[in-house]
Amino acid sequence: MHPHPHPPNSNKNTSQTLAKPKLASSSQALLQVQKVTKTFGGVVANKEVSLTVQSGEIVAIIGPNGSGKTSLFNSIVGSYPIDSGSIVFNGEEISSLSIRQIALRKLLRTFQTTQVYTRMTALENLYISLPQNTVSLRSIFSVPSKGTKDKAAGLLEFIGLYDKREFLAGDLSFGQQKLLELAMSLMCEPKMLLLDEPTAGINPTLINGLIDRLKTIRKEFGVTLLVIEHNMRVVMNLAERIYCLAHGQVLVEDTPENIQNNKIVIEAYLGAQ
């Protein structure tokens, strides 16, 4: 109902208005998952999974359906307690923390089936996604500030949803909701993002744009990315390293080029399908 008072900024300007964390210069691991095991009843979802993500990297996780990728994400962000193992983020053990505490440490995720606030507009979805450890009680009980509004509008522009800013999130298409969810995460100024199949359901013609944006996110916003993805073209274009999971265990860790030709990986995929 209130159009944005100022025309949206260009991509470049947007990134400047955002707080811009330094790119990790050292090769210190940002996320270190060690021997994480998680079972549900008798079903083993993850068995002694270990993986490492360096600051500033884009890492992909692939694997056939049911190989425990999403479970691993859930374990990392604290959706439920893990059985054993350790998860260290930014030098801090987080495996005993709740999902909210982990989010406050700027480790966020998106969901495979989108989760947006369906009966709120796209802009409102962003307004309340500000980093929570910096908000004051006063700002909670006031209307969104101009800074917040600008930032939200800028992010929508960046993600390509500015035209739909006043739409209810529930009225957006599945792909648009995915993008909105990504924008919500960015609003929160994360250090690291776990993306669960970011391109699923997105119009194939737009996928290249999305890959570019994800790279921009890493470059301009300084966000480390860990991505679950089925689309091999995306994986090959995006990731610098790839972990392949099967039956809840890490099968292989390698560069995209090597993975492509790895027999075990191909077998795992074919075997599962």
Binding site: A103, V116, Y117, I128
Partner: protein, 350 residues
Amino acid sequence: MRDFTKNDIRLFIALCSLGLVAPILFPAYINQLSFAWIFVVIALSWDMQGGHMGYNSFGNIVFFGVGMYAAASFQILPFFSLGDWTEAGGVQTFEHSVSQYFSGYALGILFAAIAAVATAFIFGNLILKMRGHYFAICTLALGVAIGEVFASIEILGAGQGLSLAVWPRGFLDDTYRRLFFYYQGFLLFVLCFLSISYIIRTRFGMTLNAIRDGEDKAESMGLNTNFYKISSWILSAFFIGLCGALVGHLVGFIDPIDVAFSGATYGIWMIIMAIIGGKGRLWGPVIGALFFHAFNEIFWTYFLGWQRVALGLIIVIIVVFFPEGILGFFQVRKKSSVSALSTQPQQQKK
């Protein structure tokens, strides 16, 4: 939808001016008008969780009852022994002097708010972590249980009930007594409406909506959902507790089950009023409450012995033909014209 448009402001001012002069225009109806404002307030307050936050509470009547008892007993306590006051066979008569009445009154109102807020805080911490049906059933059980507990507290009169302090004899005319309560109800409405209309525009209000739409998501974004849920329940309890205090004074006699913790009347009415009007919308509970109250009164007058049949049928009709509430009905009809327009601005922009 969230913003307070010019029309909203006009409407609100119109309603307020109507509210200010109504007792002068219709002196015979002051009491009913007081109840109308109170109904609006409890419906609006319920809608804070039920509508905006999506937590369907059947137990908000607890705050109503607690507020009522607090207001009544703290008006008595400083001046008389509560035990003597409520004792069934007591032969003493008690009368408040003017100053006692009003100082006690103020104290009672204060404690009504405190008690309701404290109750909301304590139980909010315990049960607001549940969701969906479990939350609903838990609040329902809480409402019944607390009512029954109050019905067995001797010092508050147990099943005998508790009579409130009587307006000081000989002080001012009776019309002033009624105006005194009416304008409090009206003030409560103005306060409640303004705070809620403000709150739903803030990030707080948006977060409540977010909790309604996806609490897990909100939590995974780092939002402290518990804080928001409890705060909103407290806010709701604050207003409902004050309403309870006011209703206590208007009725003059508290029966634990039939007046204070009356889940079967006020308890379910606050939900029905919000839904009839359209829940989760600012004006919905207002319309719903006025509608409900009006029809209630009309039926009572004209359908003696059949009034509940009539009320029941009208509820069924509303639900069947206006599923989104009265307000939702008009919005849906309007939406068809809006959506035709909404595609055009995009083209115009390019």
